[in-house]
């Protein structure tokens, strides 16, 4: 295993507390956790693309970052109208 693989695996453990927040806390707290989960997923995808020397897959991380931004704005808009 190279360093990027180890980093990706370690970053994946960060989803556990975020999932706990999404399941146990209020909805708006879940949105905050979801936003951080999107950032985390982007970094995991970058690390995996670099770990396996598949540079083309960094594009997936770019799309993930953009979708995270859009989804967070949609959730914020939705909850502000409740």
């Amino acid at each position: 295993m190279n360093a990027f693989e180890v980093a990706a695996l370690a970053l994946l453990t960060g989803f556990v507390p975020l999932l706990w927040v999404c399941l146990r806390e209020r909805e708006i707290d879940g949105v905050a956790a979801l936003e951080l989960a999107g950032s985390l997923a982007t970094l995991v995808l970058v690390c995996l693309a670099e770990a396996y020397h598949r540079g083309i897959y960094v594009g997936v991380a770019v799309v993930c970052a953009a979708v995270t931004w859009i989804s967070a704005l949609v959730f914020a808009r939705f909850f502000s109208r409740l």
């Binding site: 360093a3 990027f4 180890v6 980093a7 370690a10 970053l11 453990t13 960060g14 989803f15 556990v16 507390p17 975020l18 706990w20 927040v21 209020r26 708006i28 707290d29 949105v31 905050a32 956790a33 936003e35 951080l36 950032s39 985390l40 982007t42 970094l43 970058v46 690390c47 693309a49 670099e50 540079g55 960094v58 594009g59 991380a61 770019v62 993930c64 970052a65 953009a66 995270t68 931004w69 967070a72 704005l73 959730f75 914020a76 808009r77 909850f79 502000s80 109208r81 409740l82």
Partner: protein
């Protein structure tokens, strides 16, 4: 030398991100949680970006990583602000 730098940068990134995740889980109010959400779009991504640039340079992979980190860094304050406004609207 380059491998050691990459290892250190990745370790800093992982620790920073995991601290942010724990912070989101431990904090009590939405605004405190958003503080850690915002921190997760700065330190960690830039350390991963630096590690990729040390390894790959400014090639296709490096430029794509710059794009991904730039989106995270620039969009982070926007979504945190929007979420804080939504939290305030829900409380009112």
């Amino acid at each position: 030398m380059g491998n050691a730098v990459v290892d250190v940068l990745l370790a800093v990134a992982v620790v920073a991100e995991l601290l942010c995740c724990i912070g989101v889980a431990v904090m009590r109010t939405t605004y405190d949680r958003l503080h850690y959400t915002a921190a997760g779009t700065t330190v960690g991504p830039f350390c991963v970006l630096a590690a990729v640039l040390v390894r790959e340079g400014f090639g296709q992979v490096g430029l794509d990583t710059i794009a991904a980190v730039a989106i995270l860094f620039l969009a982070g304050p926007l979504i945190v602000h929007a979420t804080a406004r939504a939290a305030r609207a829900m409380r009112a």
